[in-house]
């Protein structure tokens, strides 16, 4: 597949002011966390809170700012960022009418979906790595590097800590990529990109709400967001795969189902936009 169309797609995504502003918001969160910890003087450590206890660790090692930022942005900001790109993918082109001209060039519908999904995937990787990298950057600058205490209590070097952070980022990319596939599918259903974005963000929030109702524990493993916070298992020594492996399987299954659904829906659709 020629990469020219994909590059054009990426220029479209990264050249858009709205998307750049969104990225800036994602990047500002770790900066706020870093300065808040630095100047509040609060040294409350471990357990509880939306940050998963990472903020308290930040003063020992700047890496934890990145982890804390990923944790606080995971419920809403990161899915929102992915949903904006994915929701816009097909519905955005339909909305301005460019979809018919792309298809008449001709762009095969499967190829269009593939390029659109690759764009979503690359934007997802960018978003996760941006949050992690800005967090690590400001964390290390403000607090320096020190021994990293893993969740299981073991201390490791900063290098190993960075490697674990990269694993966490990779895991979150997989989870959010499945979510992006859901967004792509919804995007093929409508000509309103904002509607697609709202619908798919709503789905993520609903899934998290259902996941917090203990009476519904029977369906919890099947919720698309259920394993997202399991990334903490990558910070144990040794790494616990009890939740990570089902998390990856869940993401891959969800991803494939919704990509197939998007293909089935879009492949035969009458384009009247």
């Amino acid at each position: 597949m020629s990469s020219r169309f994909l590059r054009s797609e990426l220029r479209l995504i990264y050249g858009r002011r709205r998307n750049i502003a969104g990225m800036a918001v994602l990047a500002v969160v770790p900066i706020i966390i870093a300065f808040a910890v630095k100047y509040s003087g609060s040294r409350r450590g471990g357990g509880g809170g939306v940050d998963g206890g990472f903020i308290g660790q930040a003063t020992n090692n700047g890496l934890f700012v990145g982890l804390a930022a990923l944790t606080v942005e995971l419920p809403l900001f990161l899915p929102l960022a992915v949903a904006v790109i994915a929701g816009d993918a097909v519905a955005g082109e339909a909305n301005v009418g460019t979809l018919r001209y792309l298809l008449a060039r001709p762009v095969q519908r499967t190829r269009l979906l593939a390029v659109k999904y690759l764009g979503v995937l690359i934007a997802t990787i960018t978003a996760v790595l941006l949050v992690a990298a800005v967090g690590v950057g400001f964390g290390l600058a403000l607090f320096g590097a020190g021994p990293v205490t893993l969740l299981s209590g073991t201390q490791v070097s900063t290098g190993v800590g960075l490697w674990r952070l990269l694993l966490v980022s990779g895991y979150l990319v997989i989870c959010l990529a499945a979510f992006g596939a859901m967004g792509l599918f919804v995007s093929t259903l409508t000509e309103q990109p904002i509607g697609a974005t709202i619908a798919v963000v709503g789905l993520a929030l609903l899934s998290q709400i259902l996941d917090s109702v203990t009476q519904l524990s029977a369906i919890h493993p099947y919720l698309p967001t259920h394993y997202w916070l399991s990334f903490g298992d990558l910070l144990r020594d040794p790494i616990s795969t009890d939740q990570i492996v089902p998390g990856i399987v869940s993401a891959v299954v969800y991803g494939l189902i919704f990509l197939a659904a998007a293909w089935a829906q879009f492949g035969s659709k009458d384009v009247t936009s």
């Binding site: 479209l12 009418g97 001209y101 298809l103 008449a104 384009v271």
Partner: protein, 360 residues
């Protein structure tokens, strides 16, 4: 109805045409398809369709069994009021909308099976221009070019500049599309259709939103392209546009193709009327009636004791020179004699029961 339409008139046809066909006449009653275009299998045609039908959900039939035949090299005016099914037909031809029934071909390739092979040779403007509002005109064209697998990236910049120049948009190439006027948008849409050398252009209302100068430019551009061998399928609701630049015409009415022909055939198939300008209309009426001409209509006026007027009649199988001889023989004072110009507007009103230029 002043100008009646003949359904089956040929110069040697002895039967006089029936004046004023009822608009309700079915399309099968109108033998307006010239022999060369009937039953085309696509060999000589850039665009064909066979029983092409689209019924949308809800049962509304937008396009009803139409058999298009656009010969290579033609400028085919796809004429019909708004809402008559032209755009849905074009969407089906381009593979955007799946027909409920029937098939179509572009440049000999079946749609949608062969669309990846033939569509790169087809430039299209469908239901108005559409571009990303926050990209410049040039960047929008670059994106379309990037999507085209057959486009050579090495010549991209050059081809874009050429296309922009051809539609007179070079100066505004760097402006964001959202700041373009309607006319500039239309020009950019045409530029996109011309990014590559095309064998077929499908242009849906290409002069919409253009000022008179722009309209003239686009029409002359279409004429130039046609002269260089490009086949053009041009959808329009303007009869004048068809009369000015088209060689062929297909008339759509409520989803049906009610007529399809060479424009010249349509004109010649239309019953020819003659007109006599005389000071003694009553004598002319008597003379022409004696000669056996049908539908003789005399209009006279008495001004200051001197009458003058015009008499028209269907020529039928009579020869104009014989008519003149008869008039002179009958001592009718003829001031002027000539054919009544064929008014296509009347032809189409007869075919469709409505006029053009108004959305219906």
């Amino acid at each position: 109805m002043t100008s009646p339409v003949g359904t089956s008139v040929t110069p040697s046809d002895p039967a006089p045409p029936v004046a004023g066909i009822a608009p309700a006449a079915g399309p099968t009653d109108l033998p307006l398809q010239s022999a060369a275009m009937v039953g085309s299998s696509g060999d000589g045609c850039a665009v064909t369709s066979d029983g092409l039908t689209k019924r949308f959900r809800g049962g509304q039939v937008a396009v009803d069994h139409i058999d298009l035949a656009v010969p290579h090299g033609a400028v085919y005016g796809f004429l019909g009021p708004n809402g008559s099914g032209k755009t849905t037909t074009i969407r089906m031809l381009l593979g955007l909308v799946r027909p409920t029934a029937g098939t179509s071909t572009l440049l000999g390739g079946r749609i949608p099976e062969d669309s990846q092979r033939v569509l790169p040779r087809v430039g299209a403007l469908v239901e108005g221009p559409a571009f990303h509002p926050y990209l410049s005109g040039r960047d929008n064209l670059r994106r379309l070019d990037a999507a085209d697998r057959t486009a050579d990236p090495a010549t991209c910049t050059e081809r874009i500049a050429g296309a922009l120049d051809r539609v007179g948009l070079s100066a505004a190439a760097g402006k964001r599309f959202r700041n373009y006027s309607l006319g500039m948008r239309q020009r950019l849409g045409i530029a996109a259709a011309l990014l590559q050398p095309r064998e077929l252009l499908i242009l849906d209302e290409p002069t919409n939103g253009l000022d008179p100068q722009g309209t003239r430019e686009v029409r002359s551009l279409v004429t130039d392209l046609a002269a260089s061998g490009v086949t053009v399928l041009l959808s329009t609701h303007l009869l004048s546009e068809v009369e000015q630049i088209c060689t062929h015409v297909g008339v759509m009415h409520v989803g049906k193709l009610v007529a399809q022909s060479r424009l010249s055939d349509l004109r010649s198939q239309t019953a020819q009327r003659i007109r006599v300008h005389t000071t003694r209309p009553e004598l002319a009426v008597a003379s022409l009636t004696r000669l056996g001409l049908h539908d003789v209509i005399g209009e006279g006026a008495q001004t200051g004791g001197q009458s003058s007027g015009e008499v028209t009649a269907l020529l039928g199988s009579a020869k104009p020179e014989a008519v003149i001889a008869t008039l002179v023989h009958d001592e009718v004072p003829v001031l002027a004699f000539g054919p009544v110009p064929v008014n296509l507007e009347d032809v189409f009103v007869t075919l469709t029961g409505e006029g053009f230029g108004v959305s219906g």
